[in-house]
Symmetry: C2
């Protein structure tokens, strides 16, 4: 049996947002590896072993997946969203780089999924309809100063922005600092979208001007979008419409 | 009959990358509106009218969709990729903003899809595995100076970058200037990925260091990804593996 690893994106939560490619690949797998709540989304069946692990053990999980594939297993590493956006794909390649040389010849595929910022943007209208950036606000793996530097430069570039992991338990004050920095750099009335658990029963969408944005509006399941200088709110309330036009003036 | 508009992303090309949500919504539509090659991807059936139009008439198409929905039709506006990323969603909201006030009460949904940069990133490994930005290199709707400004700031922020519409027929010299600017700002050895028509039979993936990147490696169907200073190439050749680690050093 020839083993392989597929690193698959399950999308933001709803089954209707899982691609047929991912569904078909899961049907061929012998093993599924991932963080507990994502593995819980995969149906059990005979011949399939589920390996659920806790958060913060991404590298162990990646090594385990590569070892099993090297031994002939057909392994799917599940991520939420898109595996290539602040998710498991980079962790698997880090394990590959540091691991056994023969792992580099393995059949490894990344299967894209609907990433949280695009699910959130779709729900809100089209806030990322022009040039934008995506920043992970967690400082677990990078210095805080780099986050601040990127925020300042992104504001100067007038990008719309998407923030993943806005509030970590370890550093709750970080996101307050981010909002403060953005108010200094962008002014007060920039639309900010807090999109929590989009496409799940716990979905909640809040649109406020930057001046009213508060750190506690975000939690670990929230992605935050901040408009560019051109982003506007066409409709407020429970069905908000926020968009960034395709044109920028001369 | 209550009309609605759904702005749906068909993904980069393969049917296996169309979400079940989009497939189900197309099955309920009375009308499909879009650019000729995207409408061609929708199967004909009794009760469904296909309205295919040429490129560069996005606003006409958007108005037409909104008019039909206001008249009670169930309209799907199809985009390739994700409709919120340099595609039809912003155009529909521009038409909405400029159009009849009653349009603002319409049932309008955006259905996310797999956008080109994430399909390309998945094929190449995980080049967007850390903070990144997405820039439309076309200067049809924005001044060229803004594109250059954003490129310089993105390089200073050390973002990985994804470029849509790298080469327009109207301005072929623009992309040559982009590569020159990036070489000045990033040095010569940054990995550059040219990903053409990913997931279609015409797919072609090329990875070169920045110093070897040439404008003619991109065409209208190509998305271009440029690594950050930390992006590395784990495997060259026909099955390249390029990734950006999750960590940045202190």
């Amino acid at each position: 049996m020839t083993g392989w690893v597929a690193i698959a994106g399950l999308g933001p939560g709803a089954e209707a947002l899982v691609t047929p490619e991912v569904t078909a690949t899961l049907a061929e797998a012998t093993d599924v590896v991932g963080y507990i709540p994502y593995v819980a989304r995969v149906a059990e069946r005979p011949g399939l072993t589920l390996h659920a692990s806790d958060n913060r053990v991404e590298l162990d999980r990646a090594r385990h997946a590569l070892e099993m594939a090297a031994g002939g297993r057909r392994v799917v590493v599940v991520s939420s969203g898109d595996p290539g956006v602040f998710a498991m794909a980079a962790a698997v390649f880090e394990a590959l780089e540091a691991g056994a040389p023969e792992w580099r010849d393995l059949d490894i595929r990344v299967l894209p999924g609907i990433t949280a910022m695009l699910a959130a943007a779709a729900r809100a209208g089209a806030p990322l309809g022009h040039d934008f950036c995506a920043i992970n606000l967690s400082d677990n793996l990078k210095p805080w100063a780099l986050i601040e530097k990127r925020l300042r430069l992104a504001a100067e570039a007038d990008f719309a922005m998407a923030f993943y992991n806005p509030r970590s338990k370890a550093r709750p004050e970080g996101f307050a600092r981010v909002l403060e920095l953005l108010r200094e750099a962008c002014g007060d009335d920039r639309p900010v979208i807090f999109a929590r658990a989009v496409s799940t029963p716990e979905e909640r969408l809040t649109v406020v001007p930057l001046t009213e944005a508060r750190p506690e509006m975000a939690d670990m399941r929230t992605v935050v979008l901040v408009g560019s200088s051109l982003t506007r709110v066409l409709r407020d309330g429970p069905r908000p419409l926020v968009y960034t036009p395709r044109s920028a003036p001369e």
